[in-house]
Amino acid sequence: MLAAPRPFNYNEPSARTPTRFAMKPFLYAAMAGYVIAAIHAVLSFVNKRRAAERITLYTAAFGFAAHTGAIIFDWARDGHYPLFSTTEALSFLAWTLVVAYGLVTYRYPLRALGAFLLPVVSLLVFASQFVSVNNVKDPSSVTGGSGSWLFPVHVTLLLFGYASFFVAFAASVMYLWQERELRLKKFSAVFHRLPSLTTVDDVASTAASVGFTLLTLGIVTGVIWSRARSVRMFHNDPTEFFALLTWVVYLALLHFRVQWRGRKAAWLGVGGFTLVLCTFVGAIVLGGFHVFR
């Protein structure tokens, strides 16, 4: 006899006791790798050292491998896509950031990105271990029902989108920083470590358009999933509101990018990312349907 389907209740605490400490060594190794990579990235940024750059690459690669291992183990152990709790979401977000870092540095001469991105990655992994430890949402709340396969797709797309927006944000900051120094004609030591304006502008617009595509797909899958499961398309919570606002801002950004380029586009990149932060933090602070628990 199959058990009767549970009624949907996202506030109900889980009955399962999470075995969250099982695969910790992998995550700790990843954290160590990221922290070392972050320190060396900042060092090589502030104080040109080629050796430090190499260490950054190796330790970041090591951290990434360990992190991937940790996520796969979690997945295998829990038997569901590892994206339900805030812990998992933060850790996965860090993972997508590292993926973005790898892709960008492979494609562009933008080593300086590490100095912006890797500290954030380290913090995210660190933070993921300290938030809402005793609240794990029951996966069945989202794995049940029709169209449940859409949920992981929805979340993954959005997290990768956020990572792209972060890259766009970092590149925009680099743009504004340099543009300011060029205008004032006063150059700090760091100026020489930053890639050219054209490069960061290029990275910012590419990252923004990739992020926008992912955000669009993420929102669409979310809406479809929501319809399939509870007929309602929207839940009127802060996350949905901010996500739509973000979408509009990035749409404007991509639209005007061709005309504006440079400074204005960079400010939009920064503004758009602020909204992304609101979306993510708003979900946690203001509560609502989208909270990872």
Binding site: K48, K185, S196, K264
Partner: protein, 428 residues
């Protein structure tokens, strides 16, 4: 073995003195052969560039003061310049100081423009001349190779050569900062002038695809364009050309602004907001400073460029301080390597001798010990060797200390006590 260096450079001697002492390649080889006598001077090397003349020599034992005298005598006789004329400009360094000086020269810390790259090649060239002349021996081999390594380390670990220190290269560097690669960029040269031409040349050298030249007289433009492989354009069509140019270099004698904000704004629109870089080297200025307020347009006038150069020079000086630390640690490493090179044979001979004595004694008494198992045999061997090491260790330690203190006599005394004959190549 001591290393001695005698020389003068742009800081100590005026060009009139330097030019009279400079060596051509042939004179260098010839001079080296007459310098090295196998007694006071065993190895020699001459670095002669427009900024410096340095003679580096390795001499045996405690002959540094003698060698210094010989080097300045040599300089005077081989260039037929009386010693009085240059002795006031001369600096002399011995041992550690000489090593440090060579490392600093090779790393371009002693150059007129700190961080300039040519001097490394000049040191390498001087070394190859000495090798050809057969005057570079084991000490100079080691020293020069070490110096080249230090220079490489300084270059890669500090930003000593990172930023441009001339106005025209600064322009190129700023262009790179804005456009990334200059490949495919279009340069518009308005007017002519030495600095503007130089900047245009550097930009073309950095890969700029097109150079447009505008001048009030079309023939001058044509002539200039031919030199850069560029195209001459009509001076009156400035605005159309602005729309094409990524980099604009202005250097005309015009009394007022040639490029107004309105013109620049229109050009920017035509360029669909792609950034443009204006270099204004003319005085009075040709580009209205208001142009700089338009976004995506960057304007640098002469003063701005000079200020960048000045700050780059300061940056180099800051980096030079870090480079000095690297040099210092490398000097210490080299001194140690040199000591091993010098004392190595003596230390080896001492150990060999003691071991031989121990083994001989063992062999003599071997018969009385009766049959021994392999383990016992090994134990005796180990016992003998550790006894030898324990006796020789303090001796070697003292020998090294005496060597570091420059007490060659002490080292010799140890050699005499143990009856060690220095090897053939050491006695030289």
């Amino acid at each position: 073995m001591s290393i001695v260096l005698v020389g003068l450079n742009h800081k100590t001697a005026p060009v009139e003195v330097r030019e009279r002492l400079a060596f051509s390649d042939e004179a260098c080889a010839e001079g080296l052969r007459s310098l090295v006598d196998g007694e006071t001077v065993q190895e020699g090397l001459i670095v002669s560039t427009c900024n410096r003349v340095e003679i580096l020599a390795a001499s045996g034992g405690q002959r540094a003061p003698e060698a210094v005298g010989r080097l300045s005598q040599f300089l005077s006789s081989v260039r037929s310049v009386p010693v009085e004329l240059f002795s006031g400009h001369l600096y002399t360094h011995a041992d550690e100081a000489a090593v440090r000086h060579l490392f600093r020269v090779a790393s371009s810390l002693d150059s007129m423009v700190v961080g300039e790259p040519q001097v490394l090649g000049q040191v390498r060239h001087a070394y190859s001349l000495a090798v050809e002349a057969g005057t570079a021996g084991r000490v100079l081999h080691k020293l020069v190779h070490h110096a080249l390594r230090v220079a490489k380390r300084v270059r890669s670990e500090t930003g000593i050569a990172a930023s441009a220190v001339s106005v025209s290269f600064t322009a190129v560097e700023l262009g790179r900062k804005i456009f990334g690669s200059l490949k495919g960029a279009t340069v518009l040269l308005v007017g002519a002038g030495e600095m503007a031409e130089l900047a245009a040349q550097h930009l073309a050298g950095a890969g700029a695809a097109r150079v447009l030249v505008a001048n009030r007289t079309y023939e001058t433009a044509q002539r200039l364009a031919d030199r850069f492989g560029g195209e001459a354009v009509e001076f009156d069509a400035l605005e159309e050309n602005l729309a094409q140019a990524d980099i604009v270099i202005c250097s005309t004698g015009a009394r007022d602004f040639l490029i107004t904000p309105e013109m620049a704004e229109r050009a920017r629109e035509a360029r669909r907001n792609r950034p443009a870089f204006f270099i204004d080297i003319s005085v009075p200025r040709n580009v209205d400073p208001a142009v700089a307020r338009i976004s995506n347009l960057f304007v640098f006038d002469v003063d701005d460029l000079e200020a960048v150069v000045a700050s780059n020079i300061r940056e180099r000086e800051r980096e030079a301080e870090r480079a000095e630390l690297i040099v210092e640690s490398e000097v210490m490493q080299f001194q140690q390597a040199l000591r091993d090179l010098d004392l190595g044979p003596t230390v080896g001979a001492l150990k060999d001798k003691l071991r031989r004595i121990a083994r001989d004694e063992f062999e003599r008494q071997r018969g009385r010990l009766g049959p021994l198992t392999p383990e016992q045999e090994q134990a005796i061997e180990a016992m003998l060797m550790s006894t030898v090491n324990k006796i020789s260790h303090p001796v070697i330690h003292r020998m090294r200390r005496s060597y570091d203190a420059g007490e060659e006599g002490e080292v010799q005394a140890w050699r005499d006590i143990f009856g060690l004959e220095p090897k053939e190549d050491e006695r030289r």
